[in-house]
């Protein structure tokens, strides 16, 4: 048991170090921070942003003599901003996961990895944790911005909703990265891996549209698989065990399929 943990930790550290040494990783971080920062400012601070909207509503209400219906600025902001972040992540995450195995295959180190005493799924878990940590580093500045913005909130922000919402974002990222890791293990071309991952994730994202077109029990089952529906409900503040189980299933499926694909690779002649 301790050996397995040590193995996972070793893979984890190796991957993480390679991220911090890679200019591409920093460039992706810079681009993501620019886009996310832009959305943050536009949604909250901009002239069409939420603070302006709320101020206009209040002014109108005072003018009319009619009380304004209650409006939770923080709740609305989290819903819109994290919804945008979810969509943005759909583009970023395939790029993060594309190199996990495809790079190794391209460089020829995959044979070493596949035949090493470290089990396949331990390698997969280590890589997944590393790329997830990298994603959390990407998200960290956003938490800082939110902390600054929410410090000016009155009445004070209740912790439940922000925690649930960000937890949803992390779960979504973990699911997508896990599936992306599997796709990456199938091919030597990183670009192909990124494109296929993107297509797969897009398909899962819009699954609820497909499901409503099909209808019936098959449609209901497919609709349940939709990432968007469960992510939205988490961001709203509704934590359902079925959503948690679904995300967990995606993560587990990704790791398992990756291990299987590497296992098969072991016995293939290229």
């Amino acid at each position: 048991m301790a050996i397995i943990l040590a193995n996972i930790t070793a893979i984890y550290r190796r991957e993480l170090q390679s991220y911090f040494r890679s200019p591409l990783a920093y460039a992706i971080a810079g681009a993501f921070w620019l886009l996310a920062g832009f959305f943050f400012c536009a949604i909250l601070l901009g002239s069409e942003g939420l603070i302006q909207q709320a101020a206009m509503r209040d002014a109108q209400g005072q003018q009319m003599g009619m009380p304004v219906p209650p409006f939770d600025l923080v709740g609305e902001f989290l819903r819109i901003f994290l919804g945008t972040m979810g969509s943005l992540s759909l583009f970023i995450l395939p790029i993060l996961s594309m190199g996990l195995y495809a790079e190794e295959r391209k460089r020829g180190t995959l044979e070493l990895l596949a035949t090493s005493p470290v089990t396949n799924w331990a390698v997969a878990v280590g890589k997944l944790l590393a790329v997830l940590t990298f994603y959390v580093t990407l998200i960290a500045p956003l938490l800082l911005y939110e902390a600054i913005a929410f410090s000016g909130a009155s009445p004070a922000v209740a912790p439940g909703l922000p925690i649930a919402a960000h937890f949803g974002l992390i779960l979504l990222a973990a699911s997508v990265l896990s599936l992306g890791m599997f796709v990456s293990s199938l091919t030597a071309s990183t670009i192909l891996a990124a494109v296929m991952t993107f297509a797969l994730v897009l398909f899962l994202w819009i699954m609820d549209l497909v499901a409503s077109a099909i209808g019936g029990p098959v449609g209901a089952a497919l609709g349940h698989l939709s990432l968007l529906q469960h992510y939205d409900s988490l961001v709203k503040g509704v934590v359902e065990t079925k959503s948690l189980v679904l995300f967990g299933s995606y993560i587990f499926a990704g790791i398992f399929l990756t291990a299987q694909s590497i296992e098969t690779f072991r016995f293939q002649r290229s």
Partner: protein
């Protein structure tokens, strides 16, 4: 060589053929929408061709014994097994899912009263929505209801354009009609539309609770003093009577001059806009009815001689007195809706089950008078309808321009409607020992009757005021009426200029530059 070539082309042909068959089968199935014999046959044929093509490879036997094939098949079998397990786990999780609503105000959880009503539904109830599509909010609400009691609660969306006969069977007259079906009885709940607010939990629960009680309550409308007729000519309240019918209340006229007796089945007696005073004998009968625990709705228009239409002996023990002056509303809201100053607009409602779900909705009362309220022991009074600050009760309508005169007029905000209840415990002259169910007796008094007339009843919340008041008067148990709508916390963010600039700087400059800068530095170093 030739042999293997032709075999190769044959196999390629088989592959191509199988691909064509499979795609033909799939597209036939999807386009027609029905997986009939033809698509299935095509799919089977394609599958068979594919199998033949795969199995007739030259070195099949060799292939099958190779380790990679064994490992591959092993992998596929394990994968299918794991996917099946995951599928089952998710299926079970979807059926038996626990929900935790972590929003501050429990916005996405149904109220305890709703939960009780739905869980204890005696007979199955079905909600029919006749519309092209159901909004996500409404669908979620109905899903939550169904999750509480899937055996007894169900809902269905019917497209009235496609299913015209079904729509007609229900009597659905417009898009967005929502019906509640309980056994044989079908009642119209509300009409959804682009301007309407959508299904509300309060409305739905109230309707469910009402649908559960099968008796029809009778509301008697007093006649003979110029009150609003129940049907026919201008100024009638036919729309209101029809709406009462939908809610399980039957409206009947009552003339106390013909038959000097209050009928036994009178759940509520309503006096709607009398123009002439009542006879003392009638007032005595009504007072006795009220003292016995009867329920009264009294809508009094101003400009009637005398001001209280002779009901003084009835109203004074309750602490009510109509003012007589006309309420004038000078706030901009009325002008925005197209009303004149003599039609006060009410957007502020008291804390009472009748108006609990109105929030900031609008109701208006053409030519109304304020009601003066005095405290009386044993009476619980609640001000229902209040006008805004820019209103007053004008005593002289001929003055031009209309202005508030402190010596003659009453300054707003004015109370246009009150709801009163006689508390059972505080009966001072109870000679008999405490009865098992002390009569309560309720009364709703509003200084205007025009708002329930045809043409005014359907405007904004006017109809709801009337129907909810009748509902409260007739309800023995008002636990369902006290369902309150969920509202989010009213929260604002105020940032100083410093904070705002800091945020923009961090988000748009500092971190992006950090990222790109580090990328540049590392790339330069590793050259």
């Amino acid at each position: 060589m030739k042999k293997s070539l032709s075999r190769k082309t044959l196999r390629q042909g088989l592959f191509l053929g199988s691909l064509i068959c499979i795609s033909a089968g799939l597209s036939a199935g999807f386009v027609v929408g029905d997986w009939g014999p033809l698509p299935v046959f095509l799919l089977a044929l394609g599958g068979a061709l594919l199998a033949i093509a795969l199995l007739t490879q030259q070195n099949t036997a060799e292939l099958l014994s190779r380790r990679s094939t064994q490992a591959g098949t092993n992998a596929i079998a394990t994968t299918l097994a794991v996917l099946a397990i995951l599928g089952t786990v998710n299926f079970v999780a979807a059926r038996y899912s626990a929900k935790f609503d972590v929003t501050e105000r429990q916005l996405f959880t149904l109220a305890p009263q709703t939960q009780e009503v739905v869980k204890t539904l005696a007979t199955p109830v079905k909600v029919w929505v006749f519309d092209r599509a159901l909004g996500t909010g409404d669908r979620e609400l109905l899903d939550r209801y169904r999750a509480l009691n899937p055996k007894a609660f169900d809902y269905e969306l019917v497209d009235p354009v496609e299913n015209l006969t079904q729509a007609q069977a229900f009597g659905a007259k417009e898009l967005g009609a929502v019906f509640i079906e309980k056994g044989e009885r079908r009642t119209l709940l509300t009409t959804l539309g682009p301007t309407a607010a959508g299904l509300s939990e309060v409305e739905l629960t109230k309707a469910l609770a009402q649908a559960s009680s099968d008796r029809t309550e009778v509301v008697y409308f007093l006649q003979g003093h110029g009150e609003r007729p129940l049907e026919g000519e201008q100024g009638a309240m036919a729309t209101a009577i029809a709406a009462l019918g939908d809610r399980g209340f039957e409206g009947k006229p009552l003339s106390l001059t013909d038959n000097a007796q209050i009928p036994d089945d009178a759940t509520i007696i309503a006096i709607i806009g009398p123009q002439r005073p009542l006879l003392p004998g009638e007032v005595t009968l009504l007072r006795e009815y009220s003292d016995r625990g009867g329920n009264l709705m009294i809508l009094l228009d101003p400009q009637v001689e005398p001001v209280d239409a002779g009901l003084g002996a009835l109203l004074t023990p309750w602490g009510i007195q109509p003012d007589g002056r006309i309420a004038i509303d000078a706030s901009p809201v009325g002008q925005l809706v197209g009303l004149k100053p003599d039609t006060p607009v009410v957007t502020q409602y008291g804390e009472h089950p009748i108006v609990a779900d109105f929030r900031q909705g609008i109701s208006y009362y053409p030519v109304a008078q304020p009601i003066t309220l005095t405290d009386r022991p044993g009476i619980t009074a609640t001000r229902l309808l209040e006008t805004g600050d820019q209103s007053w009760a004008e005593s002289d309508l001929t003055a031009s321009p209309l202005r508030f005169e402190a010596d003659r007029d009453l300054q707003g905000p004015l109370t246009l409607g009150v709801a009163l209840e006689r508390s059972p415990a505080a009966e001072p002259n109870a000679v008999n020992p405490a009865p098992s169910a002390p009569p309560q007796g309720r009364l709703v008094a509003i200084g205007n009757s025009t708002f329930v007339a045809d043409g005014w009843f359907d405007q904004q919340l006017n109809g709801d005021v009337f129907l909810n008041a009748i509902g409260w008067l007739g309800d023995r148990d008002d636990s369902t009426l006290s369902v309150r709508p969920r509202e989010p916390e009213n929260r604002r963010i105020t940032l100083t200029a410093l904070q705002g600039n800091l945020l923009a700087l961090l988000a748009l400059a500092v971190f992006p530059l950090l990222g790109f800068g580090s990328a540049g530095v590392i790339w330069w170093r590793s050259r």
